[in-house]
């Protein structure tokens, strides 16, 4: 069928993922009691949620195919700028992984330096100023004033 080719690939991927997720939820919920003597059991709602998600994602694809066939405008996903996003995301993941071993302030400073230099493409001066100044600000406001408990590294902060 011609329509399939012009389907937005990302949309299709998203719908399939949701369908798979819906199936997963349905299968898990199947193992739990559907009805108990007092009414719906723990499996009741998740089961229907899973079925709804699987069904709706299928319907989404069908409707999009119908729209394409009728020549109606369909949402085209733009992945412009995905590179910096991926870089930022990975940096964030690394920073969170470092929270326990290095403490919040150190991880935050490293994360900021990376973002300012590599993603926003600013100078080293900018990177260092922003990261250290905001880290200091956070420390004063949150740790000293508001006494929020943050992960602390081996160097005491």
């Amino acid at each position: 069928m011609g329509g399939w080719k012009s389907l937005d690939k990302s949309e299709l991927a998203g719908a399939l993922l949701l369908m798979a997720f819906g199936a997963f939820v349905t299968v898990e919920a199947w193992n739990w009691p559907y009805l108990t003597k007092d009414g719906p059991g723990p499996g009741f709602f998740p089961l229907w949620i899973g079925i709804a998600m699987a069904g709706l994602s299928g319907a989404l694809v069908v409707l999009q195919l119908a729209d394409i066939k009728r020549g109606r405008p369909v949402h085209r996903t733009s992945w412009k700028g995905a590179g910096p996003v991926l870089a930022g995301c990975l940096a964030l993941i690394v920073a969170v992984a470092l929270l326990k071993p290095a403490g919040f302030l150190a991880s935050y400073v490293l994360l900021t330096i990376f973002l300012v230099r590599a993603v926003f493409r600013q100078s080293w001066t900018a990177a260092l100023t922003v990261s250290l100044a905001s880290a200091a600000g956070f420390w004063i406001l949150f740790v000293k004033l508001l006494r929020v408990q943050l992960p602390v590294g081996p160097w005491g902060f």
Binding site: S10, E11, G14, L18, W32, P33, T36, K37, D38, G39, P40, P42, P46, I49, A52, M53, L56, A59, L60, R70, H75, T77, S78, G81, A82, G83, P84, V85, A87, G88, C89, L92, I93, A95, V96, L99, K100, F104, Y108, L111, T112, L115, V116, V119, F120, R121, Q122, A126, V130, S131, S134, A135, F138, F142, L146, R147, V148, Q149, L150, P151
Partner: protein, 503 residues
């Protein structure tokens, strides 16, 4: 003690210099805490509990309530400026507030939020003062079937949050509903979707999802936009930094709607300010002559939820002060404080401690005025945040988000979940799935499921209990009307399109 005498006595207490000072400190602190995403009033009140125990009860409760309703003022700031909810209830303000900021109307949005909060906050106190006991009695008539109907009404709002694709909105909502099932099942003690993690046994924390989807999602999205320069145009000149008369006129109904909905939802134990904000937003959109403006920067879309989350504080104090039942997380801490002071929260609290009650009521009037005076001039100052270059702003948002999320339970898992939801938020934006229904599903799912199952237990399986009681039936009718409306419009437009094609 009748109202007028009580109020006069209250003002004489509230205007004492020390109490005035504590009120100011409370509302100021509250505003700061509200502005910071993640840190909510309950965490702050809990933090200050040891300090307040050293104070006399009246001053203490004045200050803590100040933090409580002050936070609702501050919560809208980052919602409007950065699409980052400062406080859980401010999620709804992000919808139109941020859109207004993108249209260069950040100032008016902030101003309307402040004015709306003031009006609703004051209405909340008036209602607390006048009708607290009868409202409390009325609220007791809300049992599980009525809660179910209210949640159904809330969920029907998804139709109004849908935007272009109803299916995507529904998928988003179901995802939220699924998130709500994570944790220990209340009725059978079984675990659902916890993947063996003890930290997930109490479910996914709402703050984690909101900050992840909105804040982290927003930052990730902006990383892709290579913005090292300014973000939005910040118009100069005070006239453009505050709402104009037309705005105020447009919001007349929103003020009323938000104040009443917020107060009443606040009175119900368990229902929170997030639900109040969603419901009042939904009502506003449903009765609007131009519903399509919502989501693109409708000023009523800011006024209604902001009003709702402010009058909710007045409402939440009703069950606390008239029955000794806390209506929300923060009021639970206030309850604890009352106990620790040796006061006995219960139906006789007001009778036994009239000074404290009236002093509190009077101080809430004063507090709302202080907050209006504090917040309005701060609008131009806050709006300048938009001037900050992206490379300063976005890492900062990441930092505050991590702090905010970690401060909830000091669990690293929460931070990881936040990142996960952030990625999800980014993907949802790319694929044009609306985020608001996800939040709606998450907030309402838990309460709704519990309400249904409790109701059916009460009726031994007879479904009629859900629609036969008058209060419940009325709300369900409203929900049906809201659902049918747009569906009707949608079917009609399909018919018209089909007719066009035939011709």
């Amino acid at each position: 003690m009748d109202v007028l005498t009580g109020l006069m006595q209250g003002f004489s207490i509230a205007l004492e210099p020390m109490n005035l000072l504590w009120c100011f400190i409370g509302v100021f602190f509250g505003t700061v805490v509200g502005v910071l995403p993640g840190l909510g009033p309950s965490a702050t009140v809990a933090l200050l509990l040891p300090l307040t125990l050293q104070m006399n009860p009246t001053a203490g409760i004045i200050m803590m309530s100040g933090i409580y309703y002050g936070a609702k003022y501050g919560g809208s700031t980052t919602s409007i400026l950065l699409n980052v909810p400062g406080e859980s209830a401010s999620v709804v303000t992000c919808l139109d507030g941020f859109a207004m900021a993108r249209n260069g109307r950040a100032g008016p949005a902030l101003g309307i939020a402040a004015i709306s909060s003031f009006i609703a906050g004051t209405v909340g106190v008036v209602l607390l003062m006048l009708v607290a006991p009868p409202i409390a009695e009325f609220a007791l008539r809300f049992g599980p079937p009525e809660y179910f109907a209210l949640m159904a009404l809330g969920l029907s709002m998804v139709v109004l949050l849908a935007g272009k694709s109803m299916i995507k909105a529904l998928l988003s909502m179901f995802l939220g509903l699924w998130c709500a099932t994570i944790g220990i099942d209340l009725f059978t003690d079984g675990t659902r979707f916890t993947f063996g993690q003890i930290e997930l046994m109490d479910g996914v924390n709402f703050v984690v999802v909101a900050i992840g989807t909105f804040a982290i999602g927003e930052v990730l999205t902006n990383l892709g936009v290579q913005s090292s320069g300014q973000n939005f145009t910040v118009p100069k000149g005070l006239r453009n930094l505050l709402p104009n008369w037309q705005d105020l006129k447009d919001c007349r109904f929103a003020f009323l709607n938000g104040s009443l909905v917020g107060f009443f939802v606040g009175v119900l134990p368990g229902a929170g300010s997030t639900i109040a904000s969603f419901v009042s937003y939904g009502i506003e959109k449903a009765v609007s002559r131009h519903p399509e403006r919502f989501g693109t920067g409708a000023v009523e879309g800011v006024a209604a939820p902001e009003a709702a989350n402010n009058s909710e504080t007045g409402g939440a104090l009703v069950p606390l002060l008239t029955l000794g039942i806390p209506g929300s997380g923060t009021t639970a801490i206030l309850l604890a404080a009352l106990i620790l002071w040796g006061l006995k929260p219960g139906p006789l609290l007001i009778q036994d401690n009239p000074q404290m009650f009236w002093g509190l009521v009077a101080s809430m009037y004063i507090g709302n005025v202080i907050l209006l005076i504090l917040n309005l001039p701060l609008v131009p100052l806050f709006a300048q945040i938009l001037r900050l270059p992206g490379y300063v702003l976005y890492p900062g948002i990441l930092g505050v988000s991590i702090i905010g999320v970690y401060s909830v339970d000091q669990t690293l898992l929460d931070v990881w979940l936040m990142v996960g939801f952030g990625v999800l938020g980014y993907l949802m934006r790319r694929l044009d799935y609306p985020a608001a229904p996800l939040i709606l599903g998450l907030v309402l799912g838990d309460l709704m499921e519990n309400a249904v199952r409790q109701s059916l237990m009460m009726s031994n399986g007879d479904i009629a209990i859900l629609y036969s009681r008058p209060l419940a039936a009325t709300m369900l009718l409203f929900a049906a009307a809201i659902l049918v409306g747009p569906l009707f419009r949608q079917v009609n437009s399909w018919r018209l399109k089909a007719a066009e094609q035939e011709a």
